[in-house]
Amino acid sequence: AFFGTSATAQELRVGIAAEPVAIDPHFFRTGPNMSLRENISDALVYNNQTTGTIEPRLASSWEVDGTEWRFDLNPDAVFADGKAVSAADVIFSLCRVRNVPDSPGTFMSFIETIEAIRPEGERSLVISTKGPDPVLLESLSTIGIVQAPSDEPLEYDEADCGNSDWLSTQAFNNGSIEAGIGPYRVTSYRRGIDTVLERNDNYYGEAPHYQRVVLQAIPENGARIAALLSGGVDVIDAVPVNAIDQIYDNENLQLVSAPASRLIFFAFDQEGEPSPKITGTDGKNPLKDVRVRKALNLAVNRAQLVSTTMDGIAEEASSIVMANIFGANPDLPRIPFDPAQARELLAEAGYEDGFTMTISAPSDRYRNDTEVAQSVTQMLAAVGIDVSLETYPQSVYFDRANRFEYSMYLGGAGADTGEGLSQLLNLVHTRDPERGLGGANRGRYSSEKVDGLLQEALVTLDPEARRALLQEAQAVVYEDHGYMPLYHEVAVWAARADVHFEPNAGQYNILYTARPAE
């Protein structure tokens, strides 16, 4: 019910666009689940994407020596039954990630590099990785630690760790098992309606302000705004672009935002010959020609796209990794908007009359995705390409993308772990299903040089050296015009003016820092 009760000092009501599908922190790797997990199930460490730092959580301290990571657990952290968190719980949790019953999308990729885990007494453990893993902490920050059913630590291996009782997801969902230790605990979870959180009074860290938080599922944009305007909720997430102005003008409300790491881009099919959605080129794929890719990049007026189509709720992008994120390359200049040169380049490449191309975009995946795609379509049309747009709901869209049915398609890729390497590996590394690389690289951009740089970064622990490698890789992609980066998203929340709500670059709803505004 979202009306009548206003934000008391005791209760915070949040209208969320997408509800978590489970309370189980290991069940399903999607934004809403991970967002909830941040509040109810602490990981070993916290990845503060806003500041770009890793903060202690269940692990009060850690040290690294090559492939050996040693974590000391916070002795104050206790589960609901009063038992302190132990190494056995951590091992169990990491093992469980591989063995969550029926998970539709696991967190497995975050623990792939872990070779072994060794408890050192009750409150310490050592994780050894297969090779140097510079992003282990970021990876571990995504995995909530739940209480192991038995005190005896498991033997960590890549299979089932010799265990069979993995705690069912239902048990988490119906509240018979706690999701772990967090500032809040879930007291009621009604799918399609709401999730109610109560303050965890045994929490070892700073106590959150609100006694109760109600997360209300309001997927429809208008309904979510209406709920805020009518006072039914105190905070909403995923504020749609078109409503920003009105909320801004409303004295009782405020907007908070954080740049998010997700890059929205167009990818070019650089392998198909002919390319599936291009005609009028005698079977050639013009997108394999760097001049054409450059021409397309120059044809797009990113400043206008951001200021008009996105109404300023985005950050123009020229390369893959967002400025705040580890590995960003600030030296790469803006990609200029130069339609004249674009036409010249097209002519030079032999397409003075352009060519016919259908570009593809999802209709319900990213904020404003169709509008953005259509704006770009318009811009490409303006440089003489006979371009049209097709859009699909995501259930159809990505299936086709995975079958390489597009020539130029709209995509988005974030830095899940809060640093650039994973994003780059996913997006610009040559597609290599075996090793799980280039998974999002459905245009099949491929550069040996980039691959080499990224491989090296993968085993470079020294941050500065690694940063340089990532930056250089991006410079290569930039020169190659391997992608058409458009912008990085900005996450926006709206809240009542009397509520202090902190934005989060990971687009998570961080509830425990919320409090009444001064």
Binding site: F3, M108, Q394, S395, Y397, A401, G436, L437, G439
Partner: protein, 328 residues
């Protein structure tokens, strides 16, 4: 007639069978549930793991056989995303859907049939014209628009009604519903009105058209010649004779109210079945879709049966027609 009922049941089974096949093939044609479920950024290995976990790596016919096997034991399978029995998921939404449908139905029928009667009886009065004009609102303004206007009007400007969600529930006679609490009713009002408006225009118009047909007939005049009260003329002689089209429309609309309140449920964040269906279609959650459609198919078949039986109750002539098999 008993045979008739059995035959209808047999036909229903056929319909259900066709439906499940259609959904399997349809979902398979539309896209891959795995892609709709997992994050597009996920790695290939994870994707394949997920596909295996969902059983989508098997050939389609095998998946279907597995499904039918489960069905034999009364198991509709687990939802792809929630990994919980779909029957349980559906059941959790049914209450909200039914009460919304009920409220909308009561509103729609309670208001529109009298209005339609009036407009049909006195077509030339101002009020009738106003009713007819009003009835156009329902059809001509898209429902989501209407919903938002209601929200803005009553939720934001006047701020007298809640704008979404289901209110408190109470249990009376073993039925848990928000119909029994004030808060629940307040929450129910706007969505019910939103849903009722569209049905109302339909009902007003069907009623009016039928009344205009019937009111000039001799038996209505004869009833007047008997000195029968206008009220009784309307209820017995006119209503009785316009029941056929009305019942048909109602039969379908009740089904639609329960099963496809998607727009209203979305705009008003009502936790009903319609929204579940749409989100399931979006992510191609096949088990939910199938169970859902089987449910609605049964709903419609039963409603249709009831309507057919009611036909024979309200119009004895139809009874003859059905039994003597058409025109012959």
């Amino acid at each position: 007639m008993l045979v008739y009922a059995f035959r209808r049941m047999g036909q229903a089974l056929l319909v259900l069978f066709a439906l499940t096949v259609l959904v399997f093939v349809g979902v398979w044609m539309i896209g891959n549930p795995a892609d709709a479920l997992i994050s597009p950024d996920a790695s290939m290995a994870e994707r394949e793991a997920a596909i295996r976990a969902l059983g989508l790596d098997k050939p389609l016919w095998q998946q279907y056989l597995d499904f039918v096997g489960g069905l034999m034991q009364g198991d509709f399978g687990n939802s792809f995303i929630y990994r919980e029995p779909v029957t349980q998921i559906l059941a959790s939404r049914l209450g909200a859907s039914l009460e919304l449908a009920f409220a909308a139905f009561v509103l729609a029928v309670g208001i529109s049939v009298p209005l339609g009667l009036y407009a049909g009886l006195y077509p030339d009065t101002r009020l009738s014209q106003a009713i007819m004009g009003f009835s156009l609102i329902g059809v001509s303004i898209p429902q989501f628009w209407q919903g938002m206007v209601l929200i803005i009007l009553f939720g934001i400007w006047l701020a007298v009604l809640p704008v979404g969600g289901r209110g408190d529930t109470a249990t009376v006679f073993g039925i848990t519903s928000s119909l029994f609490t004030l808060d629940g009713l307040m929450h129910l009002l706007l969505p019910a009105v939103n849903m009722a408006l569209l049905k109302m225009s339909l009902l007003i118009r069907v009623t009016r058209a039928a009344v205009m047909e019937v009111k000039g007939l001799d038996y209505v005049r004869f009833a007047r010649a008997k000195g029968v009260r206008p009220y009784r003329i309307v209820t017995k002689h006119i209503l009785g004779n316009i029941m056929l089209p009305l019942l048909t429309v109602l039969g379908i609309e009740i089904g639609n109210l329960v099963a496809y309140a998607v727009i209203t449920e979305t705009v008003f964040s009502w936790p009903g079945l319609g929204r579940l269906l749409i989100s399931s279609i979006q992510v191609l959650d096949r088990p939910v879709i199938i169970a859902y459609l089987c449910f609605t198919a049964l709903l419609f078949i039963v409603l249709n049966l009831i309507v057919d039986i009611l036909y024979t109750v309200v119009d004895p002539r139809v009874r003859d027609a059905i039994h003597s098999g058409g025109a012959k």
